[in-house]
Symmetry: C2
Subunit: 338 residues, 2 copies
Amino acid sequence: MTGIDEVARLAGVSTATVSRALSGNGPVSPATRDRVRSAADSLGYVVSSNASSLASGRTRNVGVVVPFLSRWFFSSIVEGAEAALARKGYDLTLYNLGGGEELRRSVFEHFLLRKRVDAVVAVALELTDDEVNRLLAIHKPIVGIGGPIPGVRTLTLDDLSVARLATEHLISLGHTRIAHVGGAVEFDLDFHLASTRRRGFERAMHEAGLPIRDDLYQPADFTINGGYAAGKQLLGRPYDRPTAIFAASDEMAIGCLLAARDLGLTVPHDVSVVGIDDHELSDFFGLTTVAQFPRQQGEMAVDVLMGELMPEPGGPAALTTELPYQLIVRSSTARPAE
Amino acid sequence: MTGIDEVARLAGVSTATVSRALSGNGPVSPATRDRVRSAADSLGYVVSSNASSLASGRTRNVGVVVPFLSRWFFSSIVEGAEAALARKGYDLTLYNLGGGEELRRSVFEHFLLRKRVDAVVAVALELTDDEVNRLLAIHKPIVGIGGPIPGVRTLTLDDLSVARLATEHLISLGHTRIAHVGGAVEFDLDFHLASTRRRGFERAMHEAGLPIRDDLYQPADFTINGGYAAGKQLLGRPYDRPTAIFAASDEMAIGCLLAARDLGLTVPHDVSVVGIDDHELSDFFGLTTVAQFPRQQGEMAVDVLMGELMPEPGGPAALTTELPYQLIVRSSTARPAE
DNA sequence: ATGAAAGCGCTAACAC
DNA sequence: GTGTTAGCGCTTTCAT
C-alpha cells in the first residue's frame, strides 16, 4: 500500500506537490509534474479516495437512483450515465428502489446522506419535497430524468407531443378507427406518463376531428404480455375492428403485433401498429415507433450534473431540458386497406 | 452538517462512545446506547462514510464489474447483488466494461484500486492473473460469477450438464434429428460458454447413439435476431428438416420460434425448441428452457463475499460453488410428429 | 463501560 | 512553484 509520502520521497518533493501534480489543482512546473507522475507510476500509486474525499469534500462519485434495473429502458439509462461518468473519472453508485417503500426511505435517509456521493441522478422518480430538501441541504446537486421535479433540474420527455406525433403518423396515413393501448392507472405513478400519453393521443384525434371511442382504449401493464392481451381484445372484436393501434410503449406494441399474427391478421395490411421507445427488439419486429434515447439520456444527465459540480462561466442552464425524440417509420404502419 | 461530536455533546458522552454505540463495535451499556441513538436520530446524524472508511479501513461498499448492463441477464445479476448488499447496509458501485479494452484497464488499474470498495464481484469476466493479483495485493476479496478464475472463489454454472439436460429432454421425447443453434466463436470469450454448451449437446447425442451432423449446427450471436436467422436456415431446408432445435440461449431460441412461425411451421407439432436461461420473455412464448437464476446468482455472490469479509467460525467455503439450474417444460417441446 | 488522544492519508491555506 | 502544516470526521488503542 504505497502512500503519497512514498511518492513524494521518490520524486524528491513534498506531499503537497504530489497532490497538486496528480490532481491538476494548483501550479506545478511541467518538469516536477513529470517526475511525480513517473514516480507514482513506478510505485503503482493510486490515491485513496477516502482520504482525498475527507480532505477535499469531493468524492468523485455520483449516486444513481432507479425504480427498476432489469428493464431495458432503465439499464440503458444507467449504462449511458456510467459511461459518461467513467470518462470523467467518476464512479457510479447504484441504488435500486425496486424493493419497496422501506428501502426507498433508507436510501434517502441514510445511504445517500453518508457523503459517499457528490450528486445524485434520479431516474423516473417523483421525489418528495422532503427527499429533495434532504439532499439539497447537504449541497448535493440533483438532476432528474423523466419528469419535472419542483426545484430540481430535470430532463423531461414531452410525452404529450410524443404521443401526438405517433398518433398523427397514423392519421396522416388515413386511419380513422385508431385504438390506444395505454398504461393502466396502477402504473401511472411517475409523472403520470401513461395518462399524459393518452391525452396526447386524444388531442391528436380531436384535432383531426376524429371521435375518441372508449371501446377502443385498452389499459395494459407496459409488458409484451400485457400488450398481447390488450391487442387480442382489440383485434378480436367481430366488427368495427380498429385499423391501427397506438401503444404507449414498444413492449406493448410488440405484444399487439404478436396478437395480430396469432389472430391471422397481417401487419400492416390489416392493422398498423406504432409504439414509443425504440426498444432493442423494435427493429427486429419492424415496429414503427417514436424513439427516445435512454442511453443518451443517461449521458445528458451526467453532463448537466457536471455543469452543476463545476459551474462554468456561461449562465446557468435552464431548469428543465427537453429530451429529443424521433419518429422512426418501419414496416408496421401503412395506409389502411380499402 | 451534524457531526459525531454534536451527537456526543447532546448525549453527554464522548465521541468514542457514540462511534461504538452506533456501529455496534465495542461494549456500550444499553442505556447509553439508547441515549446515543435518539440523540443521533433527533439531529439527523448520518456517519460520513469517508471519515469512517479512512479511520477503519472498511468502506461498506462493493464494486460490481459487468461486461454489459443493458441485457436482461446481467442487469438481473446486478439487481440481485444490489438487493442483497442493501440489506447489509452496503453500497454497490458499478463498473461496466462495455467500453472496450482501455476502459477495462483503467477500471482495474485505477478505479478499483482507490480504496472505494471492500471487495469486488466480477460477472462473466475471465480475469487475468494480473487483474486478480492487483486486487488480492490490497486485500480485496473477489468473487466471480460465471466460470472458474484461478485463485478466485467463483460461482459457476455447469454449462456442459445444462446443455446435456436440454438435449436429453428432446431425446427423451423421441427426437433424433436435433439441430443446435450455438454461440458463434467470436462470442466465445468468457469461459468458452458457447463451446461448452455445444460439447454438452454433442455428448448427449453421442450417449444416445445419435449422429452429430455438422449441417444441423448453426452459429448465432445470442440475440433474438441471430436466432431468427439461424432458425430460418435450419427450418427452411427442403428435406431432412430437424424435428427439434436446442439453442444455447433463450433469446436465440425465441428467434427460432419466430422463424418457425414465419415459415408456417407449428411449434411444437412441426418442431420443438428448447433454450437456456429462462429469460423474462420465455414464459410468454411458452418456451421450454433450462432456467438459471441470475437474480439469485447476484445474491449468492454477495453472500459469499460477506463470508469473506467477516469470516465465520465454520471452515472456509469451497473455492467453486455450483449454481443451480432447472428444466422448465413449457409448450415449445413435444414428441415429434409421425 | 467509558474517555483521551493518536492517527487514517490526503488537501488546501498560507508562507516563502 | 514549492514546502509546512493544520485539519477533514471519524475509529481505535490504551487508560481508567
